[in-house]
């Protein structure tokens, strides 16, 4: 059913720290690896070894330069489904394939009902949904719904694959609907923001902004090379002779 639940029991989502993300793409490959065998399997690739490789990915890491008052920094920015509170991708779906779960707020696609009209991908401002041309249906991040409740995995592994893979601890998973949860406290402490709030989709995921520049770092990596002055002595004599 594509009508949205009035309230979800939990609001599971991700908190992504733009301060510590190093853009290593580990979350990207780990996501692809897990999900090509998971709930939305397969995540097909087109011409993977050719010149025009393309394929379905749920997580993509962009790199930006953020310049404020003449000082700029590089920011790596992982982009994936934000599991919005009011996801238009769900309400526009004509078949009921897209839905938002009342129990945990995860937005999912039922691959057996999707007709591949692509309207949901047009309705998503974040580019979270990607069409699988091989299977003919739309695919998207499942928040690793097949990991987080999976009792066959060890408890510490019951997090999304991207979170498990992140080597710099830039990805956090939890209930953002519960103000006392560690992720909610992290968002409160670091001033986490929602993306494109002006469009009114009320995303669940939060992004922690890079910390302010401390100014402690060296201003210049190494002094510029200077021309060699008159050394004097024997080497000074050699210098003068060779400079003739």
């Amino acid at each position: 059913m594509t009508c949205l639940p009035a309230k979800t029991e939990k609001s599971l989502g991700l908190v992504i720290d733009l301060d510590t993300c190093v853009g290593c793409q580990a979350c990207v490959t780990s996501c692809k690896e897990w999900n090509t065998g998971g709930h939305m399997a397969p995540l097909t690739d087109q011409n993977p070894y050719g010149g025009t490789a393309d394929g379905v990915w749920f997580n993509r890491v962009h790199t930006y330069e953020h310049e404020v008052d003449g000082a700029s920094r590089t920011v790596h920015f992982p982009r994936s489904c934000l599991h919005c509170e009011t996801p238009a991708c769900v309400t526009v779906c004509p078949t009921g394939a897209s839905y938002k779960r009342t129990s945990d707020g995860i937005v999912l696609v039922d691959e057996d009902k999707c007709i591949g009209c692509k309207l949901c991908s047009w309705a998503c401002p974040y580019g979270a949904r990607e069409f699988d041309v091989d299977v003919g249906v739309m695919k998207k991040c499942t928040l690793c719904v097949d990991r987080i409740y999976n009792e066959n995995l060890k408890e510490e592994d019951r997090v999304p694959a991207c979170v498990a893979a992140c080597p710099s601890g830039a990805r956090h998973f939890g209930d953002l609907g519960d103000a006392t949860s560690p992720v909610s406290q992290l968002v409160a402490a670091r001033g986490g923001t929602a993306l494109m709030p002006e469009l009114g989709y009320a995303p669940t995921n939060r992004y922690l902004p890079p910390r302010a520049n401390t100014g402690r770092g060296p201003k210049v990596a190494a002094p510029a090379l200077e021309s060699v002055g008159d050394a004097g002595g024997f080497f000074g004599w050699v210098d003068r002779v060779l400079s003739r």
């Binding site: 594509t2 009508c3 949205l4 733009l18 010149g51 025009t52 490789a53 393309d54 394929g55 990915w57 993509r60 890491v61 962009h62 790199t63 930006y64 330069e65 953020h66 310049e67 404020v68 008052d69 590089t74 920011v75 982009r79 238009a88 769900v90 309400t91 526009v92 779906c93 004509p94 078949t95 009921g96 394939a97 009902k113 999707c114 007709i115 591949g116 692509k118 991908s121 047009w122 309705a123 998503c124 401002p125 974040y126 580019g127 990607e130 069409f131 699988d132 041309v133 299977v135 003919g136 249906v137 929602a194 993306l195 494109m196 709030p197 002006e198 469009l199 009114g200 992004y207 890079p210």
Partner: protein, 313 residues
């Protein structure tokens, strides 16, 4: 946005078909004498062919067209589903109207009711089609107060021009209907130019700052996540037609409005006869071709917020 041929054909053909159907419904409802068998069959046949062909075409861009029947289920939330339901429901009064009024030559209360219902259903269907696009917030050019009136006016205009062509071909020219076709063509021209001017001044509904949560200063894309175009860039980042937008707009204006307008004036001056019928048919054909170009631009000139992430705006 990537303009799928199937969707261009779908919106243009069903628009003209529902426009013509609504006019036939109004003709029947106002107590106009039933057309004789052949003109009636041809008129309803044309309307049904445009509607049916357009609807069939719309399944052409589906990944799994065999499941298209599922699209009738979510009418509570989805304009696409409502459009599908309205399209099917329209066939009921329209079919009865075609049978009773055009084929059996009846008139009376139930014909009038069927005519009004068919016209109302046609209007609802065109509104639903427009709302599919008008409800999409990430695309400012579509999420605009112009989208719904545009779809309605273009449907009415192409329906009127088709109706005039049919009347001329079957030797029943009507000056009021011809004049209406001419006036609506002019109105559609004015509206389209106004929409283009409005769209040219539109910005994105968000910025790369708000899209990344990075506040203040400037954000510049320095590296994409992938080297080749992916689905998002192929579908949402389509830019081919934008390159030729000025020329395509001129072609659309000439084919959809200027040429049909001139041909309709000639038809008006000719006051019926085979020559007037010929130019009326030509006007309808030209307008449909022009509206296809207009629709191509409607898609191709629409910019989606996801392109912000790729440093395109």
């Amino acid at each position: 946005m990537h303009p799928a041929y199937s969707v261009i054909v779908f919106t243009t053909a069903t628009g003209a078909g529902y426009g013509l159907l609504a006019l036939l419904g109004l003709l029947a409802a106002t107590g106009a004498t039933p057309p004789s068998l052949v003109p009636g069959l041809v008129s309803f046949g044309l309307a049904f062919a445009l509607i049916g062909g357009g609807l069939l075409s719309s399944t052409g861009h589906l990944g799994r067209p065999e499941r298209a029947w599922r699209a009738f289920s979510q009418w509570r939330s989805s304009w696409l589903s409502r459009e599908g339901v309205a399209a099917v429901v329209t066939f009921v009064p329209a079919g009865l109207l075609a049978l009773g009024w055009a084929v059996m030559g009846r008139s009376g209360a139930w014909i009038a009711i069927c005519g009004l219902l068919a016209a109302a259903c046609a209007v609802v269907t065109v509104c639903s089609t427009a709302m599919i696009y008008a409800s999409l917030k990430p695309i400012a050019q579509w999420h605009s107060r112009f989208t719904l009136p545009s779809y309605l006016l273009f449907a009415a205009t192409s329906g009127l021009v088709l109706l005039n062509a049919l009347m001329q071909v079957f030797g029943r020219p009507s000056v009021p209907w011809l004049a209406a076709a001419l006036v609506f063509t002019a109105l559609a021209w004015v509206l389209k130019v106004a929409v283009w001017r409005h769209n040219d001044a539109l910005g994105m509904p968000a910025t790369l700052n708000s899209a990344t949560g990075l506040k203040g200063g400037t954000v510049r894309s320095v590296e994409w996540p992938h080297t080749e175009d992916n689905y998002l860039l192929k579908e949402m980042g389509y830019r081919v037609a934008r390159k030729h937008a000025a020329r395509l707009r001129l072609i659309a204006v000439i084919l959809a409005f200027a040429l049909p307008g001139a041909l309709l004036v000639i038809a008006l001056l000719l006051r019926g006869g085979p020559a007037a019928a010929f130019v009326s048919v030509l006007a309808a054909a030209s307008q449909l071709a022009g509206l296809m170009v207009e629709r191509w631009l409607f898609f191709a000139e629409a910019k989606h917020t996801v392109t912000l992430y790729y440093g395109r705006d």
